[in-house]
């Protein structure tokens, strides 16, 4: 599925690059107009009384609260806690999924043998594990990690399995007849083919990990931005709550941006990325 979107995105990028420059305003100006229009609409909603200002404060008030937050240590500590859970959870999930994915993917027997179990466990929503996490770990960071690792593991595992399945059979046979050991085959034959898939998996898992880090903080109360949001809400600091929500959104945008850049860097040698750059 992901491959489908990926390839169509790439096709779109190429199609756009070859098209003549569009008339009218440049794209970033139009984007800016969109943002300003959105903020203006938000500002007006409480003013004209479409919603009560105590439930949706005007945009200016929320942005002011966000600016105040940016100067507070407590805010950055919360951001740090969220990002810590995010980073550890993501790293654990990627490491486990990579190793298991390679071992399972390289053996046709294991692939068939584990298929039904993987297809059954994968769709189980990780929020179902929230009660278990609370029971086992309480409000400690481990609760968040359990949810993050469970959710991200499958995303990455599936991509690694697709990637290993994509390895060219002739290359594999050649490596075997040249007496490559198992580890050499993994490193020199499987890994390069699998890397684009792995990066896709990591990119998807990175945003899933943020969702679950915030979820765990909101619902369980492990430290981080989500906990601050629920504290602000129950404390009636509504503008502060919206400011924190904006902050989680910006965190999400930043994570998407960084993973896209990393993906491009790591795969700079790969035909799919090189093709995009030259087109």
């Amino acid at each position: 599925m992901t491959q489908m979107t990926e390839s169509s995105t790439r096709a779109a990028v190429r199609a756009k690059a070859s098209r003549a420059p569009s008339k009218g305003l440049p794209k970033w100006v139009l984007g800016l107009i969109g943002i300003v229009a959105f903020l203006g609409f938000w500002e007006l909603m409480p003013v004209i009384g479409a919603v009560q200002a105590k439930y949706l404060p005007p945009a200016s008030e929320v942005l002011a609260a966000l600016v105040t937050d940016l100067g507070l240590t407590a805010f950055w500590v919360a951001v740090g806690d969220t990002m810590l859970a995010w980073a550890i959870g993501l790293a654990m999930a990627v490491a486990a999924a990579l190793v298991l994915g390679l071992v399972i993917g390289m053996s046709p027997f294991l692939r068939r043998f584990t298929n039904s179990t993987i297809e059954f466990l994968r769709p189980i929503p990780s929020v179902a594990l929230i009660p278990l996490a609370v029971l086992l770990f309480g409000i400690k960071i481990e609760s968040a990690l359990l949810l993050i690792v469970y959710a991200c593991f499958w995303q990455v595992l599936i991509q690694v399995l697709y990637g290993v399945a994509d390895v060219d059979n002739v290359a594999m046979q050649t490596a075997k007849s040249y007496g490559f050991s198992y580890l050499q085959r993994v490193r020199d034959v499987v890994f390069p083919t699998m890397l684009p898939y792995l990066m896709t998996g990591i990119r998807l898992a990175a945003s899933v990990a943020l969702i679950l880090a915030i979820t765990a903080e909101l619902l369980i109360g492990s430290p981080g931005l989500g906990k601050e949001i629920s504290l602000a809400q129950s404390g009636g600091a509504i503008a502060g709550m919206y400011a924190l929500i904006l902050a989680t959104g910006f965190l999400g945008v930043a994570i998407n941006g960084v993973t896209r850049v990393v993906e491009k860097r790591v795969l700079s040698w790969h035909p799919s990325v090189r093709g995009e750059a030259t087109a």
């Binding site: 169509s8 139009l30 439930y55 929503p125 929020v127 619902l219 809400q233 999400g252």
Partner: protein, 257 residues
Amino acid sequence: MKTLKSIGYLLGLPVILLAWWWLATSGEPNFFVPTPSRLVTTFVETWFGERMLTDVLPSIMRLVFGVLAAIVLGIALGLAVGLNRTLRAVTEPVFEFFRALPPPVLVPVLMLLVGINDGMKIAVIISGCIWPVLLNTIEGVRSIDPVQNETSRSYGITGFARIRYQILPSATPTIMAGVRQALSIGLILMVISEMFASSSGLGFTIVQFQRSFAVPEMWSGIVVLGLIGVALSFIFQWVQRRVLRWYHGLKEVENAV
């Protein structure tokens, strides 16, 4: 022999895992992990009764309503935005922000704006699920083969007919990828909205069990959520196979050449 072998592959690992679980718990009783037989009896006692009507079905109804509404709205809006290049550029940064916003933070917001009721829970599901569908529809419409667009124009296929017979079919593979994401987000949001603010529903019940340390009941609730997840994924795959039958056929032909 062949079918026997594939049955072995299908059930081999699950049977081994179940046996391991049974052996590991059959010795001294473990507080956190019930035995398989205990879990099965608890599962039947807990969920096949009044709770089915008061908690499980309303939750599933909200999920279905929310996801369907998000799909319809997402595709309609996505078509409108995707077909207009200016509108696309204007909305892109705002939409990208909403896509990156972790959907669970919408629960406290909608609690304030809508109040704590069924409408809030459906609104949470819609507002979380709409983004992948919307953005994938825009992407799908945008990346349509230009030759197709020009062919439509030369043949004078415009308006509804163009959307129905040219745009929607070519965008469907991308839209389906968005729908799949929407389904898993929807299930997450259904559970979260009930855990956060509710006095009924699956999420609420499971948290209630955990708070009263009713561990086997809690596990049985996790199993229910898992089964819903698996059922959704099967339904999705079935629908996708029907909707995209032509697409997979086309791919096979292309790959064969």
